[in-house]
């Protein structure tokens, strides 16, 4: 079973995604990106879903730290901002999904990313 980290500070979204995806994937729900970094020292998920605007450590800085630590895991960014391309300039991400998204949309994106 493929393993996915979901990093999202909004519990409604985090719980919803976990409930939706738990049937088909192994899900680690994380509310604080700093905790995700800690876990990454011992775990290697197949995919990371990450929100951008979060307290403590935002999605952008989280992705930056991954590349500094040379951790190469596909990342799907979930964002409510439309001008996200400029914010993520120079960073390696596998995809971007605009909030609000439907369950079919997120499922298809995840399965696509995990298949490739």
């Amino acid at each position: 079973m493929k393993h996915i980290f979901i990093i999202e500070d909004d519990s409604g979204i985090l719980d919803g995604l976990t409930f939706l995806l738990a049937d088909n994937y192994q899900i680690t729900p994380i509310m604080d990106a700093r905790e995700a970094l800690e876990k990454l020292s011992s775990e290697r998920p197949n995919l990371i879903l990450v929100d951008l605007l979060m307290p403590h450590l935002n999605g952008r800085d989280f992705i930056k730290q991954l590349s500094e630590r040379q951790i190469d895991i596909p990342i799907l960014v979930m964002t409510a901002s439309s001008s996200v391309e400029t914010q993520l300039k120079g960073l390696k991400v596998a995809g971007i999904i605009q909030k609000p998204f439907g369950i079919e949309e997120i499922e298809s994106r995840i399965s696509q990313l995990l298949a490739s």
Binding site: D10, G12, G16, L53, S82, K99, P100
Partner: protein, 687 residues
């Protein structure tokens, strides 16, 4: 028989012809062909002069004269005098001319005599005349005096006039002029006639009053035109003639005008008025204001008793009005400068002297003009970090003559910092040399503060857009997920499953509506804050259109629409893909919304660097008067009451199209559907 004219006599008037025709062989000068060159030249000179001139030539002093000399000789001597001896021609006054002529011939000494009284025989009688004349020697090539050149001016008239004017200055001179038209009372004689003529023709107003009631006895045409108009003045007192003067005061002296004349009459002292305002009755019955310079001069009789008053008036209204206009303009400029808080300055390029007005000095904290007379003094006031740029910009203005426009900080004496905006214009002389820079200064400290406040407000709004975007969309994302998951997990066999399913569908639709509204509002906020930047990249229209249509498949099925797309393959434009997608989504969704159960036709083709994308529905159509306003904010087609939304969609569409330098418009007829046409340049950056 007429002889051909000797060349030196050509064009030499009546005398030239007479000389040519004269039998010179019988005279001491001999035949004309044998005349010496100096004689010929001398004759030619006098004949070509318009001044009375004559020549006496040779030992016999043979007399030759020009046309202008004829009146001096008069008919009694002309043409008899030609070729006679000088002494014979002027025998009656030879006692004067003789010795002078001898001086010229013997000693070669020229003579000039001024205002000599001569009795000249004219028309068989002796006449008293005055002449100024000069005698000059004419020498030939050897230097020997061969002739005498006499040049004359009749100064009789001039001399008489001078003497008469001298007499006029004496107060005892009796001037009595009874009527302007018929100077009957005027003493006979040239003097009075001349004086009268001078008065009548004078371009200044002259009048004369007599007696204590100031009765007009004379007024020249200039005076009549100014004061009388059509009125008769002569014989009337000032009070009767100019009733409008009643109550009018001479402002400087505070005297009524009638009283003013009485004062002169009583005291015998003249009165001079400068630019005195006076209202005079016009022919049309109106009163007109004049400004007059005038002199009231008492007129004395033989026994030195005052008989009347001579008044000389010059109308200076035009000059005064022009000056007043200039003064007013200056005043207005001053007021304008005061009310706009502008100060002025003037820098003389040659002397490097700076002149500031009071306002400019006050702005810079200069106490007096001496402190503020150089650029150095000004630069001292400028904030240390800003000095260098100010100086380089100022030098550049002086060097190339470009307008000076610079804003920098100065330190006021109390240590506070002020922003000052300096503007200056270079003035040139007609040859293009730069002479001065004149300009204005304005304290822009407040303006700067507002600008900063505005920047902060814009930054705050931008923050709001991004925060609002996140804060609004996060709960919606959560809600959407929950509802969709609930719907999926709802077990069909459950009691009330069908009812719940329906409720969840409605909730889902409401979420989508809310999402669209939030997107629209955020787009509007971006448009308003100017953050609506397009990110251009190669975009395939056909693919984009297919994706959009796919997105609506569910809706198309429920609303029973079919979309027929016909798009030239491989239309690739340099566009913002997500924004153009937004345009297509909006137009397709409108077509489905307004025209359910009907086919929709999408068409796109390229023509000369532009793409025409059209989408045609068979809906209710849009009334003509509504067609242009549906692209404005909060507008919707009026016959679409049942359709929800804020009416922002087409406004945003228009803004997106315009950000791509394109156009959008609609063709529609009520009841016959609508066609929306988007014209987009293939590459907006090239337009």
């Amino acid at each position: 028989m007429t002889q051909p004219l000797n060349p030196f006599l050509i064009g030499c008037g009546e005398q030239g012809k007479l000389i040519a025709a004269h039998d010179w062989g019988a005279t001491p000068l001999g035949y004309i062909d044998q005349w010496s060159q100096s004689l010929k030249t001398s004759v030619s000179i006098i004949l070509n002069s318009h001044q009375p001139m004559c020549i006496a030539w040779g030992a016999e002093q043979t007399f030759i004269y020009n046309d202008a000399y004829i009146p001096i000789l008069s008919l009694s001597k002309h043409p008899w005098a030609l070729a006679r001896s000088f002494a014979e021609v002027w025998s009656e006054i030879w006692y004067i001319f003789g010795p002078l002529a001898e001086k010229v011939f013997k000693d070669g000494e020229p003579t000039f005599v001024n205002n000599v009284q001569l009795f000249i025989r004219r028309n068989d009688s002796l006449e008293k005349t005055y002449y100024s004349f000069s005698y000059s020697p004419i020498r030939d090539e050897t230097g020997e005096v061969k002739g005498l050149l006499c040049s004359c001016v009749d100064v009789t008239a001039k001399l008489l006039l001078e003497r008469r004017l001298k007499k006029l200055e004496k107060p005892s001179t009796k001037i009595k002029l009874d009527s302007a038209k018929a100077p009957k009372g005027i003493e006979s004689g040239l003097y009075q006639e001349n004086l009268f003529s001078i008065f009548m023709q004078a371009p200044i107003g002259i009048c004369m009053f007599e007696g204590p009631e100031h009765v007009y006895v004379f007024a020249n045409p200039t005076y009549m035109a100014l004061f009388g108009g059509e009125r008769e003045l002569i014989g009337k007192s000032l009070r009767q003639a100019l009733p409008e003067l009643k109550g009018q005061k001479h402002t400087v002296s505070g005297c009524y005008y009638s009283e003013l004349l009485s004062k002169v009459y009583r005291s015998g002292k003249p009165f001079i008025g400068k630019e005195s305002s006076i209202f005079l009755l016009q022919a049309d019955g109106s009163k007109k204001q004049f400004y007059l310079d005038f002199v009231c001069q008492p007129k004395f009789g033989i026994n030195k008793k005052i008989e009347g008053i001579l008044v000389v008036v010059i109308d200076v209204t035009a000059q005064v009005l022009v000056r007043k206009k200039i003064e007013e303009a200056e005043q207005r400029l001053k007021m304008a400068l005061t009310s706009t808080h502008l100060g002025t300055w003037d820098w003389d390029i040659r002397s490097a002297k700076l002149t500031m007005d009071e306002k400019t000095r006050a702005l810079h904290g200069f106490k007096d003009e001496l402190q503020a007379d150089s650029l150095k003094a000004l630069i001292k006031k400028i904030y240390a970090d800003d000095k260098k740029l100010f100086m380089s910009k100022f030098k550049n203005t002086v060097k190339i003559g470009k307008d000076f426009d610079h804003e920098c900080r100065i330190v006021s004496p109390n240590g506070s910092i002020h922003w000052i905006h300096y503007m200056g214009k270079v003035l040139h002389n007609p040859k293009g040399k730069r002479l001065r820079i004149i300009g204005t200064v304005m304290d822009t400290t407040e303006k700067k503060k507002y600008e900063q406040d505005l920047k902060n407000a814009i930054a705050a709004r931008d923050d709001f857009i991004s925060i609002a975007s996140h804060e609004l969309k996060t709960p919606i994302t959560s809600l959407k997920l929950q509802i969709q998951i609930a719907k999926r997990k709802l077990k069909p066999e459950t009691h009330l499953a069908e009812k719940f399913n329906h409720l969840l569908d409605i909730s889902s639709q409401q979420i989508d509506r809310l999402t669209n509204l939030i997107d629209d509002l955020l787009d509007i906020a971006k448009i308003r804050s100017g953050k609506f930047d397009a990110q251009f990249k190669p975009t395939c229209l056909k693919t984009l259109n297919e994706n959009v249509v796919k997105r609506f498949l569910g809706e198309l099925e429920t609303k029973k629409n079919i979309i027929y797309s016909k798009i030239d393959s491989e239309i690739i434009g340099n566009w913002d893909e997500s924004r153009i997608e937004q345009v297509l989504v909006n137009l397709v969704s409108n077509a489905i919304k307004y025209a359910p159960n009907k086919p929709i036709y999408i068409n796109a083709k390229v023509k000369g660097g532009w793409v025409d994308y059209s989408i045609r529905d068979s809906g209710p159509g849009i009334a003509e008067e509504k067609q242009s306003i549906i692209f404005r904010r909060f507008e919707r087609a009026a016959n679409a009451q049942e359709i929800h939304g804020l009416g922002l969609g087409l406004y945003i569409v228009r803004k997106i199209v315009e950000s791509h330098k394109g156009q959008i418009y609609v063709k529609s007829k009520e009841g016959k559907g609508s066609t929306f046409i988007v014209k987009l340049p293939i590459d907006p950056l090239l337009v």
